[in-house]
């Protein structure tokens, strides 16, 4: 499954966020939410997250590094299930981390999704588009 597209939704007063209808059939087992490398929430389908976690934790790392990695991967992760209306409730710690309050952008990014505050997303989107076409042009020249 490839996730793509950009969708904007309101959160209700309980912190619930709809996911795009076209994604829902691939998220029956729920999703895993973790803080992203940027100021966003990274969303994996459960199966995909298991693959990522496996890949990372089978690497040969020093025990202390491995403990750190495990804490970051698992302790900050939330397994959320989609309700009958296609929504997940965003845990407060993650909302604060990403600065998401009234509304959020759901962005499909190939194997996973990202949740952004509209303001942060506007900035990130603009800069990524400029960079992307530069990369594309450099590849087309080959």
């Amino acid at each position: 499954m490839m996730f793509f597209g950009e969708f904007e939704y309101k959160l209700d007063e309980k912190g619930r966020l709809p996911l795009p209808p076209r994604f829902r059939r691939y998220l029956k087992d729920g999703v895993v939410l973790i803080p992203g490398p940027e100021k966003c929430i990274t969303v994996y389908p459960l199966a995909e997250w298991k693959k990522v976690a496996d890949t990372l934790t089978t690497g040969s790392l020093a025990p202390s590094k491995m403990r750190t990695l495990n804490r970051a991967l698992f302790a900050t992760a939330f397994h959320m299930v989609i309700d009958s209306a296609g929504r997940i409730s965003l845990p407060a710690p993650l909302r604060d981390f990403a600065g998401i309050y009234d509304e959020a952008i759901v962005a499909g990014v190939n194997k996973n999704m990202e949740l952004w505050s509209p303001d942060e997303w506007a900035v990130e989107k603009a800069s990524s588009q400029v960079q992307a076409w530069q990369i594309i042009e450099s590849l087309e020249q080959k």
Copy 2:
């Protein structure tokens, strides 16, 4: 398939745009719309876009660069299917980006198509024609 030619259509009040009849048989799987490098919407047949995306995402880039690229390639892309009248509906974010409202130019550009507002297209067309002959002459000198 090589797309060429220039076509002008009206959008209806629901944001739907017809695609040229001679293109339709090559677009059965739908099209992928992304913001163009200029102020236009770039349209790929699904298969063609997958090739581009594969090429780009299999390259060896630093993880942060790869995330940026993925955001530009996937998050701003929309997969649209042609309806029984040969139309696609243009997502609002892309319409705003390209300044397309009442009518649009569909331009065939080799492997893909581009959607322009008539005003922007007139400017781009004039300048690209002048530049094209200069480019061709510079190539012939080699």
